[in-house]
């Protein structure tokens, strides 16, 4: 059974392996350079007692940062090019009839056929995650560019690439079984994966844990270092909240100032604060765990659906 899976899919394994080696080479070479730059910067700024703005130093790696963002799409590629054709090709070519009349039961054939691509997704996704997480270690430490909770940064490191890859492959396999055609399976994998990722990122992720809240000075509404600020409301000296704080709400003394850095200072002096809700930086791994669990449960449901369809269906 393992021989069958390997002979059928070895070329895909070679191509993906080669692509991963290229990506690893690029990230290792640039990552070593970045960590050198980072090290020099941290040593230098510590000596000068000013580590305020790292952008002139680390901003140069914008191209690689964009590359890293592009790794968000890799799980989708696994889903479209490994998952979707896996069973759809068998149905298109009629070879499922050949496989199902060999001396192994359909359940055994199916479990081996889906186990290997899922395992491959786990391994490749893990390798990708390890590379990107390592590359971003300096950026994570500085909180620049972007904090770890940001969309596009949260999604490419930690354990997320593993969970997304497994989900994408399971989705592709299920769509291939449902449609029995490669192209519709690839198209729906693309649409469903993108849709589910968007919905969960936008609407579920902020609510995994009840956010913390804090009253911070005007102008300090970025929240504690590395945290994810979900909302901010200006609070007046008497405790009144301004849903939409406008120029008209400012005290006369501050309104007369020219726009600039003095204005927040004036507001602070008059007793204005900002009430923020946020997810503290320390919750990063909890959030990773929760979102990974969601996608792994979805993947398990899709594989269960595949088994039901394949075992119940006529050839």
């Amino acid at each position: 059974m393992n021989t069958l899976v390997w002979r059928l899919h070895r070329s895909q394994a070679y191509v993906t392996g080669a692509a991963l080696i290229v990506l690893a080479a690029v990230l290792l070479i640039t990552g070593i350079a970045v960590s050198g730059t980072y090290h020099d910067f941290v040593v230098g700024c510590a000596a000068a007692h000013d580590c305020g703005d790292p952008s002139p130093v680390l901003g140069r790696d914008g191209l690689i940062t964009d590359w890293l963002l592009a790794t968000m799409a890799i799980p989708l590629l696994f889903g479209m090019f490994w998952g979707a054709p896996l069973l759809a090709t068998e149905f298109e070519d009629g070879t499922h009839g050949l496989a199902w009349t060999q001396g192994v039961t359909r359940g055994r054939w199916l479990s081996r056929t889906v186990a290997w691509p899922l395992l491959a997704a786990l391994v490749w996704g893990g390798a990708l995650a390890a590379l990107v997480t390592w590359w971003r270690a300096p950026a994570n430490a500085l909180g620049f560019p972007g904090v770890r909770f940001d969309t596009g940064i949260f999604d490419i490191q930690g354990i997320m690439p593993v969970a997304y890859s497994v989900f994408a492959v399971a989705l592709g396999i299920a769509m291939g079984t449902a449609f029995r055609r490669v192209l519709p399976a690839m198209a729906t994998t693309l649409a469903v994966f993108t849709g589910v990722r968007f919905l969960i990122t936008e609407f579920a992720r902020p609510h995994y844990l009840t956010p913390a809240s804090a009253l911070v000075p005007i102008g300090g509404d970025n929240g504690p270092s590395g945290s994810w600020v979900l909302s901010n409301v200006t609070v007046g000296p008497g405790g009144q909240r301004y849903g939409n704080f406008t120029f008209q709400d400012e005290p006369a003394a501050c309104r007369s100032l020219p726009p600039g850095p003095k204005e927040p200072a004036c507001l602070a002096a008059h007793g204005f604060h900002v009430l923020i809700t946020y997810q503290p930086a320390g919750r990063f791994w909890a959030f990773q765990g929760i979102e990974a669990a969601i996608f792994l449960v979805l993947a398990a449901a899709l594989i269960a659906m595949t088994f039901r369809l394949v075992l119940a269906r006529d050839a």
């Binding site: 059974m1 021989t3 069958l4 002979r7 059928l8 070329s11 070519d93 009629g94 070879t95 009839g97 050949l98 199902w100 009349t101 060999q102 001396g103 192994v104 039961t105 359909r106 359940g107 075992l311 006529d314 050839a315």
Partner: protein
């Protein structure tokens, strides 16, 4: 009945429905072991459906089937005892014949690797090239070799020669005949090329209009069917020892193709033997006018 002396196949009231359409209906057949059975019928008669049910690839909607005394299903015993070659001979396009043999060896209990390689070598079929680059005849031979290498007790072949040229067809059927002669193997072979089947088969299953119309050893079928030609007479006056399958009348003559259940007593009939092809075609015609279509009028009626 234990599995050792159970018939190769036995079905009772077997039916398969797709939506509201019956692809196979009320199919009751029993085929003894060791026969090479021709499954014939017009397109859409349910041949493929019947073979898929027997191969365990499709679940019946009605009735039951037993293959070698076992219900087709997902047991290793069943799967290892039945060989199946689907229509158009699906193979993994990018894999070579050798790959297919290696995979088959790992998936089947009673795999006969030596015989399969020897067959393909004798046919000069390259083992190393992707099967997509082989000819249709070579692919069919690879498919047959895979099915035979399982050493099945029952081999189901769905239109294996339909796409082949006459030479490849003959080679395929010769290979099949050789394999059958070698061991305890029953074969059901579907085709609409009756001429080919007659050479290799000794048993007949005739499906038409989604139902079984005729089942039996070909020798018996030939022995019990006759053409009767005699003076024109009224339809009702056909004698009791006959079941009329088809009749044609001209102004002076009545011609019948009939199944005999006893001797023909009326001396005014001129009785002649009839070939298998004419018998099969006559039965297939039954569906065209099912009510009382056993009579086709030709010429002026009185």
């Amino acid at each position: 009945m234990n599995a050792q002396d159970a018939p190769a196949i036995r079905t009772a009231g077997l039916g398969k429905r797709y939506g509201s359409l019956w692809a196979l209906q009320d199919c009751s057949v029993s085929v003894p072991r060791g026969r090479v059975s021709a499954l014939v019928g017009p397109n859409g008669a349910g041949k493929t459906t019947l073979l898929k049910i027997l191969a365990g690839l499709s679940a019946p909607s009605a009735g039951e089937a037993a293959v070698l005394g076992r219900a087709p299903g997902q047991s290793a015993e069943f799967l290892n005892s039945v060989g199946y070659l689907a229509q158009h001979v699906p193979l993994y396009k990018r894999l070579s014949a050798g790959d297919h043999l290696d995979i088959g060896a790992r998936l089947n209990r009673h795999w006969d690797a030596g015989a399969a390689r020897a067959r393909l070598a004798a046919l000069k079929i390259p083992l190393g090239r992707p099967v997509a680059t082989l000819s249709g005849g070579q692919r069919a031979q690879v498919g047959l070799s895979l099915a035979l290498a399982k050493r099945p007790r029952l081999l189901l072949l769905d239109e294996p020669v339909a796409a082949l040229d006459p030479l490849a067809r003959r080679e395929f059927l010769t290979s099949l005949t050789g394999a059958v002669a070698d061991g305890d193997l029953s074969v059901i072979l579907s085709s609409h090329l009756l001429h080919d089947l007659e050479r290799v088969c000794d048993h007949l299953i005739l499906l038409a209009a989604s139902r079984t119309q005729l089942v039996g050893d070909i020798d018996d079928v030939l022995a019990t069917h006759r053409i009767l030609v005699g003076p024109r007479r009224r339809i009702g006056e056909v004698e009791p020892g006959l079941t009329v399958i088809k009749s044609t009348q001209t102004a002076r003559q009545t011609r019948l193709l009939a199944r005999l259940t006893g001797p023909v007593l009326d001396p005014s009939w001129e009785v002649t033997e009839v070939g298998l092809e004419d018998i099969v075609v006559a039965y297939m015609g039954l569906e065209a006018s099912p009510a009382d279509g056993q009579l086709t009028e030709i010429g002026a009626a009185q």
